[in-house]
Symmetry: C2
Amino acid sequence: MNVCEIISVGTELLLGEILNTNAPYLCGALAAMGISVQRVLTVGDNPARLQEDFLAALRRSDIVLLTGGLGPTKDDLTKETVCKALGVPLVEDPAQRRAIDAFFRRRGGECGYSNYKQALVPQGGVVLYNANGTAPGCVIRHGEKLVALLPGPPGELRPMFQQALKPLLQPYAGGAIVSHHVKTVGLGESRMAELTAHLQDSENPTVAPYAKEGESYLRVSAYAATAEAAEALCAPVIKNLQSLLGDYVYAIDQSLEETLLARLREQGKTIAFAESCTGGAICAALTALPGASEVFRQGYVTYANQAKQELLGVTPNTLARFGAVSEETAIEMAEGARAGAGADLAVAVTGVAGPGQSEAKPAGLIWLAACNGKRTVTRRLDTGRNDRTYNRTAAAKAALALGIAMAAEDGGLVPA
Amino acid sequence: MNVCEIISVGTELLLGEILNTNAPYLCGALAAMGISVQRVLTVGDNPARLQEDFLAALRRSDIVLLTGGLGPTKDDLTKETVCKALGVPLVEDPAQRRAIDAFFRRRGGECGYSNYKQALVPQGGVVLYNANGTAPGCVIRHGEKLVALLPGPPGELRPMFQQALKPLLQPYAGGAIVSHHVKTVGLGESRMAELTAHLQDSENPTVAPYAKEGESYLRVSAYAATAEAAEALCAPVIKNLQSLLGDYVYAIDQSLEETLLARLREQGKTIAFAESCTGGAICAALTALPGASEVFRQGYVTYANQAKQELLGVTPNTLARFGAVSEETAIEMAEGARAGAGADLAVAVTGVAGPGQSEAKPAGLIWLAACNGKRTVTRRLDTGRNDRTYNRTAAAKAALALGIAMAAEDGGLVPA
């Protein structure tokens, strides 16, 4: 299998200011092509260290991908550094120069001198034109090896990778790595890992457990000459995991919101949400998916008690007796949302996200309710953490999981 | 200045399955201590490569931080690999063993054998107890150098870093790096960079331009013996940038939602949102902040036309004549949300997120409206992209920016 290293360039990455989403994107795409990414390195805008690290990566690997540092500004030095290290001169590309002029004409802006730096490309290299920005990428062949430079903004890098670089990487694609995720809710990572421990010795496919807020999953990953053969290696292991973990498995590969959307679509059902502590995050997760409008028409972000009363019909008596974070309030929120939205199902969440909390209502205490017109079910979640982001994410995931369970029940299906 | 390298361990990171948020977190915290992070490396669960990379990092650096691979499962091998490379034996820590037992008793779960692997610690090392999980971290001194191992889950790593590791790193803290961000909206990165080009030659502080969806910012970063001295270096440069960029600057350091929350709090005002294409993301961004309840009581996720009519009072005539994505609909949404929520201000967003689009209403066309009871203003955004995530993020940012402008106007203030 051909081996690749990725170098992400940018002092902003080393100062912790932005997340590097390019590296995981490229890793996923390369894995699917059967190219093994063995290292991802982040370095600053420092030409000396970049040169050293680039040459080390080039010695060890068949492919080196560099991201970032191709822009118009003075600290954008990736192209200059790599070309110097390889002894390749930079020359102006007339088509790229015209593309830069056209880009600025289209935008109605002015093209400053610094933008023309982006028209310089490595002599003899392949220019990867940028449909979404002014910095072109490029590919330089170095003996049997391939070096590619891609722009940092994800909206430029991703289409350039798919349309221009991927075809050039095809000769390096060796077989395929296929990964699937057996997704569970309601089961801790260590319990899930123990139930499946005997499968984790397997070498192809490999089986590895992971966890993030409120969800645990197992990654099943196989390598074979073709994607089909890799799939065939994964299939029996996935079956085996499903039978070991039973109803804890809510989906293979799909996220909670994707699973919910699919279940609702299958049944031609709609859902509404009433959100307090999650503050819109559940609606936002579902509507992030194309096609959400088929199953979702409206949601209520009822942060204040008054909003719960006015929009959802929660009674003042319930709020006074049990408080906003209570099973009783969650039930009235869900039923009010379902009636108000005219939806088949509704899920409501009310909880203490933190940092504010009380002894009776600690941060991490979350009540959920779901109703389908026939019955209303509730769940109590207690994360035991005073971590606002964690609690909101865990609450949103629990709400989506409850929606999946309810949608399945409603149609006589069981999850996954 | 002492130099640090970070190694994040985990095959899941190299397969592109999860974002590495630990490295940027540590980078930010170390920069603030005046410790220079020069490389961040991600490697898989491969002991041979991890050992090679660890030893190389140790040769080059004063501090090596490793994250991940400390858990109970078979592919968690960071501790074993590092200790082997350093020739340090692993011994059972009785306190850690008791902590693991207690953790599982508290959770009501069973402690399986594999969890006891986590009670093994490097002989002579400092154990960093884990208040939020079962895997302890540890610090190993190697001559003048320091090696620290931290667990992968961010909810465990962050408190462990702050409470246990940071004090041990104090002897390595050399002066301070202070960074500030001059945040702009409505100005492209290259235009912003050109307006400020002459300041980008500065070496201390450095000035560097960055961009992400709909926002551009300049990072001003200074190094000095003390944080105060570094602040003093930054201050005049920030002033200079503010006067160069004028009203495009909406805040220093704060995010859009933080700025909006602060502006509204200053004035004792409340805001409501009516969201169509953003589907709850604006409400979710604001309510992610503690204290949001002081300025936000409710929001409307009106995805379907019917919901816009029923919840916000948008007229069927407006929807029929101009369509859901129109200036007219945005205005009625904002005014309906303000009236319905009894808020001082309301901002509404309606747009085509994509992938579905039409010639008249292309993906990336977004209409925003904001009202304060005295007047209603509108904005048209056209991202020119068919990228659902980008368009939703850009729309949410534009809505927050419009809220900031409106809040400022309402109180007779100008932004920033």
